[in-house]
Amino acid sequence: MFLPNNPLVVLSLIVFLPAAGALAICLLPRGRTEMAKLSAFCVTVAVFLLTVWLAIPGTSNAESMRFAMGTGRMQHVFSVDWIPSFNIYYLLGVDGISLPLVVLTSFLSMLAMAASLKIDLHVKAYCVLFLLLETGMLGVFMALDFFLFYVFWEVMLLPMYFLIGVWGGPRREYAAIKFFLFTLVGSVLMLIAVLMLYFASDLRTLDTRQLVACHVREDALWQGKTVPGATAGSSGSAENTVGQANRGIRAIVLSDQPLHTFNIMALAEMGQLRRSPFDAKLLWGKSIQWWAFLLLLIGFLVKVPAVPIHTWLPDAHVEAPTPISMILAGVLLKMGGYGILRICYPICPDAAYELAWFVCGVGTLSMVYGAFAAMAQKDFKRLVAYSSVSHMGYVVLGLGVWSITAGNLMSTDYWNLGMNGAMFQMIAHGISSAGMFFLVGVVYDRVHHRDLDRFGGLFAKMPVYSGISMGIFFAALGLPGLCGFIGEVLVVLSVWKYSMVLAVVAASVVILTAGYILWTIQRVYLGPEYKGPHGEALTRMTPREIAIAAPLLALAIILGVYPRALLDYTEPSVKHTVTSLATWMEDVKLPRLQAAVAAEDGKQP
């Protein structure tokens, strides 16, 4: 392959190619709208190909950019100075959790850009914002420096605001501001937590092995300085990391002030230490990590979105143009789940153990609430939006089922199952919801309304469209053989071990889901004739539309029939996370619980 085997080049190319494309489109002469759209589409295609190339499995060796299956560790990690005075690095990498989301992002961006070819208002600005959005999304999934993560998170926010606010429907300003404010509240909470963790963190608590594993750079360790004979910053090259870290260790030992870090992996290692720096009490008897977990969780749950902080979603979806709805549902919501999985749980395990009931409760509530709300909607897009709330509830529930408890004999398999189910559900929902929004858009383009009571009979007029729609809707319904089933079933099966009541409630959602989806199909596609206005405009799907919808359906079938296509990527990494938390549970939490029990016993007699 002609691409260099340098992660710095490849990952940066993936993240910043869209931004570069945006810049290039800015420079296009006025009026070249077709060219702008076409070049934006080409950029998204190129990024998609790059990410697919990145995902090609191969053997694990340092010389190759192939993705090593089955290791579960971070791969292609590199670290470059960015703001050294605050220990902020340009630190990117992928593993089995982020890679599928990266591929999903580039894939949906490509399809959404193809769906945007009909946009004819301020085309250049649209393309520029769209590509910036893609950069932000890809960056969020690859960033391993917390500050960088936060920056990408915010980068993605603003283009989205404009894309909804300028190209949206009649109430676009309201929806855009609502989206922006909700998400901003979340990110402000996240920022607080980021800073809390940063100032509580101390690299001196980690040992050499951990520092090497976390890709902490040597110069980060040298800030404590004053090692006689050591020459700071003499060797900048990447080889011999152990030696570097060893020298760094001496620096740390001698350092008399804490060495803060934004490195997510290092923060996770610290969070799982027996004497974690995050265990210090902060407020109302709760530790730093308890508060950080809560703040981060709320920040991510806004994005997921979970009930009761989900109301930005229906409005944003209803007002957003079709391609943006696809991105919003397909990718943006996943960032919440990704954040919980990547950041909340590894960094704050103790808080996560204590608050598992909260996470699961919110997840289940979202599932039930979203399904009920979807059932009552009259607007097609609103219905799909609420179904997203319901489906993302599975993700939160699957992530939250901390079943490694003493009562379960510390069994890790079920949580592993749940987390994998959540991962699968994220991808599956990315496919099915993007498909549903696109299909709603197809019919909206023709008849310019979305009132569910004024459809009907589409099957006769648009047979291919209806066939694809039913496939995608059945995928959302969780029909076996399609992607939604695997995710839902894996999550639901994992819950019983955590809580029987939640499991029963979660299982009951299958009835509600069937209810609202079948009722929708009946009202839109079945029936003798179309009841709304512009019936003559209901023409068959164009080849372009088929080219967008068919890959989604194909992917839904492939993942439904051969789930290991995805699970082989996610399972090792998820297992890595779960195993490290299980180790923490046995080494750190269990002794604490035993001590608590012993203290109680001592008190009673």
Binding site: Y369, A373, M375, G407, M410, V492, V510, Y525, L593
Partner: protein
């Protein structure tokens, strides 16, 4: 022949052929042959090949495992033959947990395979005739467009066969499944095929309503099944049938039911947690738990999980097999084309529930069996009574199906594993026969309503007499203690088992037995009522009668084949001993032949009910007399017209009303479930728009008000001060303007005086400063 390798191959091929046919029809459907007729040939060929393959597989099996002996008793006593299990494909794997696509092949699988492919082949062939008009443009008189014209649409011949193929694939997958998760997968798939085929006439509101109802009601059952799956998965850590059976009925315990370790531990979570927290290390904790395990099991911990697992799985069966209280979808499902009703809603899919009870039989505790029996008894009686008053020919058959499925369920519940599954097979033949006959009638008359028919015997003799065969079979016609039609044998064995159950548990068993016996009478009554109203007497509607004609041979052929099997399916061949019950007996789950003693009931062993004449003889005669009574009554009312049905209706008006309203289930569910759900949905949506959005918008409003206040403060205070200073300065300036007289001399005066004044002032200050 090495069965362990060939059988999975043969059945796998038979299973996948319809899938291939489905895929081809999806992609190239309308282009296959003239107007897509090729799709029909393709699908039929696929299922016929499937039948041949299953027949070969069955023969192979029988040649390898001959029936032990022709004698009744020895066959029952024979050791069951271990099934052929394995995996084709792993869907997902998490540590020790695996979800796979596998197979579990025993004689039950083979019999089901043969039955399904045979019935499906007949129905595929039959549909060529029944669905012929779908090849051209169809005018649907039941759908009126907004402008008053009836709907005209393109035919959907390909789509029909496409769905049939998908259904065949799903149904065979369900039967061959090697684990309960795979069963669930295909369970859902047959559900969706049923949905698609019930709603085949998508333009009809009633059809799409019925399809939705079928799927959603089934999902209610699936919810229970999912709970059962969760229990099994979380406590046993596997879905595979042999592994579950091994844990529930371990061989070292003589295959009798025990609560598996996983369930016991899940039942005493708090104690386990305590031990782990108290123990100094994991090894000590494990030892302590292992030591306590027998005690916990003795105390009955975790038994409720075993019961819950059984009830959950049974819940799925209740949905799929249309048992009380989830039976409401099946009569409505008759909106689909009649071949579909015959295939899915009579012979195969609805029987899948019963099949699953039979397959999962080792896991059911006696408590669960009682529930199963109760549900079966209620269903069989209720559905039979509703069938008496129904006038739609397909609805009569639908309720009859529900009732017969109730028989099977009851039989399995009272320990009649073999009897129930035997009835499943015989029922599949005669009920699909009855449905196809009714389809032939509907095809000829263009109506479903029996009061419009009558006297069709002369116009369509083949249909009439094959249907009569079916009616006799379902009524259990035969010579007591000797031979009869297929239904005679299977129903007799069910009643015998119920009688045997009654001997062990007099009160409950009595209810079961007499319900079943009276059900036999009602069955005969409504079946002959149907036959007489349709075929006997004089035509009641001249137009219909003139219009009626015998169906083409492509439809009659399958009728004859099915009629043949409806007669002989219950027979056991002499000498070699081949027959449905003897073959099925080979698949009897280990440990279930002995019966079981629970806290509430004692379930008798099945072979007990066949041996002693004390059971066999009275039961045979009771069954015969009951069926005879039903037949005589029907003949009196509808055949000879000695009694007037209207009289009876007037006499029992409240009962008649109650039965016509189908025991008010639809109204009840509408009021108890549907409306509340929609109400909750609307409230939730309202909470969203008014409550949560209200809070958000309220916060926004408050923020705006604060901003406004801020603005006010800014303007009044901050700006006020600045502007006030400016204004005052301006005013002072204006005041001083009057000094500017323009008079030069005055200016000079001012300058002079001012200077002097300044000097005076300064000198004063100077003085003070010095002094200070």
């Amino acid at each position: 022949m090495n069965l362990a390798t060939t059988l999975p191959l043969l059945l796998g091929l038979a299973w996948l052929l319809p899938l291939g046919s489905f895929a081809v029809i999806v992609l190239f459907g309308p282009r296959l042959g003239r107007r897509g007729v090729g799709a029909g040939y393709l699908a039929t060929l696929a299922i016929l090949a499937g039948f041949v393959l299953s027949a070969v597989a069955t023969l192979g099996w029988l040649s390898e495992h001959p029936i032990a002996a022709a004698g009744h008793g020895e066959a029952h006593a024979a050791e069951s033959i271990p099934p052929i299990c394995g995996e084709w494909y792993t869907l997902a794997e998490f540590g020790s947990l695996r979800i796979t696509i596998g197979y579990y092949i025993d004689s039950l699988t083979l019999v089901m395979f043969s039955m399904v492919t045979l019935v499906a082949s007949c129905i595929h062939v039959y549909s060529f005739g029944y669905m012929r008009e779908e090849l051209g443009t169809v005018t649907d008189p039941m759908v009126t467009l907004a402008d008053g014209r009836p709907l005209e649409r393109r035919g959907r011949f390909c789509r029909f066969y496409q769905y049939l193929s998908l259904f065949s694939f799903s149904m065979l997958g369900l039967v061959v499944a090697g684990n309960i998760a795979m069963v669930f997968v295909f369970w859902e798939l047959v559900g969706i095929c049923s949905y698609l085929l019930i709603g085949f006439y998508i333009e009809r509101k009633s059809a799409s309503d019925a399809a939705n109802k079928a799927f959603i009601v089934n999902r209610v059952g699936d919810f229970g099944m999912l709970v059962g799956l969760m229990v099994i998965w979380s406590t046993l850590g596997t879905f595979s049938f042999p592994e579950i059976f091994e844990q529930v009925r371990p061989a070292e315990n003589h295959h009798s039911l025990v609560v598996p370790d996983g369930m016991v531990l899940a039942g005493v979570k708090a104690e386990v947690e305590r031990i782990v927290l108290d123990a100094p290390g994991p090894t000590e904790a494990k030892a302590a738990i292992a030591a306590n395990l027998p005690d916990w099991r003795e105390q009955g911990h975790g038994r409720w999980l075993l019961i819950l697992a059984g009830l959950g799985i049974f819940c799925g069966c209740v949905g799929k097999s249309a048992q009380f209280p989830l039976h409401v979808w099946l009569p409505d499902a008759m909106e689909g084309p009649t071949p579909v009703s015959a295939l899915i809603h009579a012979a195969t899919m609805v029987a899948a529930g019963v099949y699953l009870i039979g397959r999962f039989y080792p896991v059911f505790a006696p408590e669960v069996l009682v529930v199963i029996a109760c549900v079966g008894a209620i269903t069989l009686f209720m559905a039979a009574t509703i069938a008496i008053t129904a006038t739609d020919i397909k609805r009569v058959l639908a309720y009859s199906t529900v009732s017969q499925l109730g028989y099977m369920t009851l039989s399995l519940g009272v320990g009649g594993w073999l009897a129930g599954l035997f009835h499943l097979i015989t029922h599949a033949f005669f009920k699909s026969l009855l449905f196809l006959c009714s389809g032939s009638v509907i095809h000829a008359c263009g109506t479903n309503e029996m009061p419009e028919m009558g006297g069709l015997r002369r116009k369509m003799p083949w249909t009439a007499y094959t249907m009569l065969t079916g009616a006799l079979a379902i009524s259990g016609a035969g010579i007591p203690l000797l031979y009869g039609l297929s239904g005679f044998h299977s129903k007799d064995s069910i009643l015998a088992q119920a009688f045997s159950f009654k001997l062990e548990n007099p009160s409950l068993g009595g209810v079961f037995f007499w319900t079943a016996a009276s059900g036999a009478a009602i069955t005969a009554f409504y079946m002959f009522r149907l036959w007489y109203m349709t075929f006997a007497g004089q035509p009641r509607n001249e137009h219909v009668a003139r219009h009626a004609h015998e169906s083409p041979w492509v439809m009659l052929g399958p009728l004859v084949v099915l009629a043949f099997f409806a007669v002989v399916a219950g027979w056991t061949l002499p000498v070699i001993g081949w027959g449905v019950p003897t073959v099925l007996e080979q698949a009897r789950p280990a440990g279930t032949a002995l019966g079981a003693a629970g806290r509430l009931v004692t379930v008798p062993a099945e072979h007990v009910s066949h041996l002693p004449p004390s059971i066999h003889i009275p039961v045979s005669f009771i069954a015969f007399l009951a069926a005879l009574a039903g037949f005589v009554l029907a003949t009196a009312f509808y055949g000879l017209r000695r009694l007037d049905p209207e009289d009876a209706r007037r006499t029992f008006a409240p009962i008649d009303w109650f039965l016509r309203r189908k025991w008010l289930f639809d109204e009840l569910y509408q009021a108890v479930f549907v409306r509340p759900v929609f109400w909750i949905a609307r409230s939730v949506a309202a909470v969203d728009t008014r409550g949560i959005d209200g809070v958000a918008d309220g916060l926004a409003w408050v923020t705006r008000q604060v901003a406004r206040l801020d603005d006010l403060i800014d303007r009044v205070f901050v700006d006020g001060i600045v502007n006030g200073i400016a204004r005052r300065t301006c005013r002072i300036g204006l005041g001083l303007r009057s000094l500017q007289t323009g008079n030069l001399r005055q200016y000079v005066m001012w300058v002079a005086v001012g200077t002097v004044a300044l000097f005076v002032l300064i000198s004063l200050v100077w003085d003070f400063a010095i002094a200070g």
